[in-house]
């Protein structure tokens, strides 16, 4: 049975069991306690001039109702965007065979243990003009829109998919969304134009933030730290300062400060959740502390080791319901990281390595090994009869396919976990007509109960999902 009903009034899909207009948290101008459904989200500013964002028109039915965005087993649905830079090589990436029981490709071999929960979408295209190598594709896949600005001075025209999802399912936890970087803090998560969400790149700092002094395990009888109240008082005073300053400024700065205010409000929410008793989640415990440092080896960053440490922290943070939406970026578009044994930086190799590009292939395989580490971290957390991975939708993608030509056809897209059966798992779904990759995004959004009428703008705008993907 479909999880959705078509609403006779709006013609839109909505999850069963919710009646729009009464029980739903439709967008309003009132301030939610966590400050995240302010309409500031929908506005943006580019070089001093106000713009109206061509946002996907969101009809949020589920909002933060206790029973929405929740798996039948009672665990919350989570979303992880796992992003890597510089693309892949379709020849060594695309699986053979379709549907269930497809044959993994060379680059995907490290994911063999998860094949029954890994769906590969191939043949899809990002339908944006390729005016800026790397950034057009990044915006194309993550927002369904062209970048704003140009190659030198670009920004996302609208929120990235993780932020769109966080608007619906991110509320009520300490972090409405979390960004984690490995090779770079410039994680491709944007709340709107010129509003990047940077990621933490130091495992020790992230550990302290999530599992440091303020952390209390479920059932802990240690009282909350009294300084939490003092800190909230400070934030209240700071927010008053922001509001009074806003009145003196031009329109562009008022919006910047509104975003700043939202960020302060979410920090205050976080402190409030720390004052409350932690949720009673059996799998939640203090994560193991990561190594203090990960020095370069032969001038090469320890990407896999740092990523593995981050993966463990993210998994436990999800298990403790500190957040439900994570954007983890292992490498940045255009990165020139020196991978083990590589003779040049990654970006250079994509352009300059000759022949069948064995080094580029090796890096793709290495990165998929890291992705397998990530899935293993989620799969190591038991939840009900399954694991955290089963209750999560993990979307792995990059900003291009063939890095050599910055191609936006054959975009690499992997979906793991399936969000407690919301997405078809373990299939290879092939498009032979270069369909819009935005269709996959629509299916992902629907799987997470974010009901969208359309996704993307211009030629990339799309309203349908991928039928074979929707369970």
């Amino acid at each position: 049975m479909s999880r959705f009903l078509r609403d006779s009034r709006t013609g839109l899909l909505r999850p069963r069991g919710l009646v729009p207009g009464r029980t739903s948290a439709r967008p309003t101008h009132t301030r939610h306690p966590n400050g995240l459904d302010r309409r500031g989200f929908l506005r943006g500013v580019v070089r001093g001039s106000l713009v109206t964002l061509a946002l996907p028109w969101l009809e949020i039915f589920a909002g933060r109702r206790a029973h929405a965005n929740t798996c039948d087993n009672g665990f919350p649905k989570r979303f992880v965007l796992w992003f890597w830079g510089n693309g892949n090589r379709p020849e060594t990436w695309t699986p053979t065979g379709e549907g269930a029981g497809y044959t993994l490709s060379e680059a995907l071999t490290p994911l063999a243990a998860f094949q029954d929960r890994l769906t590969v979408c191939s043949g899809y295209s990002a339908k944006v003009d390729n005016i800026s190598p790397h950034w057009s594709g990044a915006a194309g896949i993550l927002t369904g829109q062209q970048i704003q600005g140009d190659d030198d001075n670009w920004t996302m025209a609208s929120p990235t998919i993780d932020q769109v999802i966080a608007e619906t399912i991110g509320g009520g936890t300490a972090y409405a969304s979390m960004q984690v970087g490995v090779q770079s803090d410039e994680v491709l998560s944007f709340s709107g134009p010129n509003a990047p969400n940077y990621g933490e790149t130091d495992p020790t700092v992230l550990y302290q933030r999530l599992f440091g002094d303020g952390f209390r395990e479920p059932g802990s009888d240690i009282p909350p730290d009294p300084s939490l109240g003092y800190r909230r008082r400070v934030l209240d005073a700071v927010m008053e300062d922001v509001r009074s300053l806003q009145g003196e400024l031009g329109a562009a700065d008022r919006i910047r400060l509104e975003q700043h205010l939202d960020s302060i409000a979410s920090l205050e929410d976080r402190l409030r959740t720390l004052q409350e008793d932690p949720p009673d989640l059996a799998a939640c415990m203090r994560a193991d502390a990561p190594d203090e440092s990960y020095p370069d080896i032969d001038g090469r960053m320890q990407v896999q080791a740092i990523h593995a440490a981050m993966a463990e922290l993210v998994a436990m943070s999800l298990a403790c319901d500190q957040t439900r939406v994570v954007a983890l970026q292992i490498t940045r578009p255009l990165n020139n990281n020196l991978f083990p044994a590589a003779t040049d930086g990654h970006h250079n190799l994509t352009h300059n390595e000759g022949g069948d590009q064995p080094e580029v292939n090796a890096i793709a395989t290495y990165l998929m090994g890291c992705f397998a580490d990530f899935l293993a971290a989620l799969d190591g957390v038991p939840e009900g009869d399954g694991t955290l991975l089963d209750n999560t939708v993990v979307l792995a993608c990059s900003e291009t396919s063939e890095g050599k030509t910055h191609s936006l056809d054959e975009m690499p897209v992997l979906l793991a976990g399936g969000g407690c059966g919301s997405l078809v798992a373990g299939h290879h779904i092939r498009s032979y007509t270069q369909e819009n990759v935005g269709k996959v995004m629509v299916s992902v959004l629907r799987a997470l109960d974010v009901n969208v009428a359309t996704w993307g703008a211009g030629e990339a705008e799309v309203s349908d999902g991928v039928t074979e993907l929707e369970a």
Binding site: I131, S191, L267, G299, M301, T343, H406
Partner: protein
């Protein structure tokens, strides 16, 4: 001096460009066209009217934040490990700081930082005494709390606090102090509030409406003091400058502003100001974290990048302060400063075994000026190879303010591997120059970079590549050069150089790109720079005394 040719238009970057809309169309066909005819500097004459851009709120960059905290709490204060990263825009962090918002992680980091700093006051009696100028009589002593808030607030927020602001902060101090039973705890959280406040984190340069012209706003004395201090010192106004602002001296007369600007420029802290500017402009901050394969470049190490940055900054300081001369000599100066690591890289004797010392390079070293320095050479190269394109791009974009577009997204940009027919990069880059799609831009960048091919990816000299002698000759504009030594002179004498530096400084000082209403004014400042014989301090003074520096346009609504 001659006037600019008819129809030519000075862009913010001092380059003549076709009209922007046309430029976009042209870009699709022939991506790059830079007029190689030298830019002429207009007659100086009287200052043309300026229509300033709308004011913006400017977030402190990481450097400014660190300097501000040191100025407030002492040089020995422990600084936060990380803050919201600076966003680069148009080649400058200062521009990004005027447009980017603060992320959720950034707010967390501001809170961490504020608590770290507040703790170093509340827990350290010596520092506490410098911040709280009274002895509390109770944990919630309201009188002492107000004294503390007003005195430290003036320094931290760079202006007197309003009564409403004082009330808000005193409430934090006294309520917390009372609950915790300790005045110091109240101070801790009061400071945390001050350091997280937008009044600390941002600089407001909005001024007040000009009664004579509603389209203009006049910066207040405190805003002007703050803009001046961050420009010249990269740190907040000191007590003397705040006192001048309180007395209204800065807006009352040109002399009042000039006297303070002179004082600041004569102070040792002006060196930090110049360092901050050039660190941004040349992206020297990136030298901390540069991927270089040590198996390819045996001189590469984690310490080489920071050492190379120090070299460049010392050379800049030398040209501005110690041996002030024509600033364009940055490109040709034979004086440089090396530590033993750089001395080994350059194959010169180390003047000081323990640190940096001055050396004079000569033609046999092959290198001189900025284009021979490891900082530039490393930054504009790859992890295992050089890049003629990146080096040429730096010269065109950063030094000459010319627009070079990125390669089209859907072309194969690979460069052939070295073989017997193409041993050096010059042969391998031939496709860049033969394929018309590539050539329109690469003919502008690559010949410059090929002139620097004697320097490898970390800046070490080499005569040959793959056994073949490197040919470093080429042409810049109408000037032929035989090698890197000559190339530096050609760039030094390029007429775009002075106007380009002027435009960069203007953008850095104002926090925004040069608006159309400001272009003529910036060109006028550039003409003054030329007239001064390219004296950097004269340029700074000229900018400070210009009407643009003291005004802002109307608020954008």
């Amino acid at each position: 001096m001659t006037s600019p040719p008819l129809g030519a238009k000075l862009t913010p970057f001092g380059v003549r460009l076709k009209r922007p809309v046309l430029a976009l169309l042209v870009a699709l066909l022939a991506a790059c066209e830079v007029d190689e005819a030298p830019l002429s500097t207009p007659d100086r004459g009287i200052a043309p009217d300026v229509v300033p851009a709308a004011p913006t709120l400017r977030r402190l960059t990481e450097t400014q934040y660190a300097n501000t905290v040191r100025a407030l709490l002492g040089d020995d204060v422990v600084l936060p490990a990380s803050l919201e990263p600076d966003a680069e825009e148009g080649g400058l962090l200062s521009l990004g700081a005027a447009t980017a918002s603060v992320s959720s992680l950034g707010v967390e980091r501001y809170e961490d930082a504020a608590l770290l700093l507040a703790g170093q006051v509340a827990d350290e009696p010596a520092r506490l005494a410098t911040v709280v100028p009274c002895t509390p009589t109770a944990a919630d002593d309201i009188v002492c709390a107000e004294t503390f808030v007003r005195t430290f607030g003036l320094r931290a927020w760079r202006r007197p606090l309003t009564d409403a602001e004082v009330t808000r902060l005193v409430a934090v101090v006294t309520l917390t102090g009372g609950e915790a039973g300790s005045f110091n705890e109240g101070v801790r959280y009061g400071l945390a509030a001050m350091f997280q406040s937008p009044h600390f984190v941002y600089r407001r340069e909005h001024g007040v409406a000009d009664p004579a012209d509603p389209a203009l706003r006049i910066l207040t004395d405190y805003e002007l003091a703050t803009r001046l201090a961050y420009l010249l010192w990269a740190e907040p106004p000191d007590d003397a400058l705040l006192a001048a602002a309180a007395a209204g001296t800065l807006t009352a007369s040109d002399d009042g502003l000039r006297a303070e600007a002179d004082r600041l420029l004569a102070d040792a802290r002006a060196r930090a100001g110049v360092r901050a500017l050039f660190t941004e402009l040349f992206a020297l901050y990136a030298l901390d974290d540069l991927a270089k394969d040590p198996t390819v470049f045996t001189h590469a190490s984690a310490e080489l990048g920071p050492a190379a940055r120090e070299e460049t900054l010392r050379v800049v300081e030398d040209l501005v302060f110690d041996n002030p001369t024509d600033f364009r000599d940055l490109l040709t100066t034979q004086t440089t400063f090396v530590d033993p690591r750089l001395a080994a890289l350059y194959r010169v004797p180390a003047p000081d075994p323990a640190g940096f010392g001055e050396v004079t390079l000569d033609a046999s070293d092959g290198r001189r000026g900025l284009l021979g320095q490891a900082s530039f050479l490393m930054l504009n190269a790859h992890a295992t190879r050089t890049s003629a394109t990146l080096r040429g791009l730096f010269v065109r974009k950063t030094l000459l303010c010319q627009t070079i577009l990125p390669p089209p997204a859907d072309v194969d940009t690979s460069i052939p591997e070295a073989d017997s027919t193409s041993p050096t990069l010059r042969e391998r880059l031939q496709t860049h120059l033969e394929d018309p799609t590539c050539a329109s831009c690469h003919q502008l960048t690559d010949p410059i970079g090929l002139g620097l091919e004697n320097f490898d990816g970390v800046g070490r000299w080499r005569d040959e590549e793959n056994g073949s002698v490197i040919d470093a000759s080429g042409t810049l504009g109408r000037t032929d050069f035989a090698d890197a030594w000559d190339l530096g002179a050609a760039v030094r004498d390029a007429e775009d150089l002075g106007p380009c530096f002027t435009a960069h400084l203007y953008r850095y000082a104002m926090g925004h790109a040069v608006d159309p209403g400001e272009e003529a004014h910036v060109a006028w400042i550039a003409a003054g720079f030329a007239e001064s014989g390219y004296d950097w301090r004269a340029l700074l003074m000229d900018l400070v005394m210009s009407p643009a520096f003291r005004r802002a346009g109307a608020l954008d609504e």
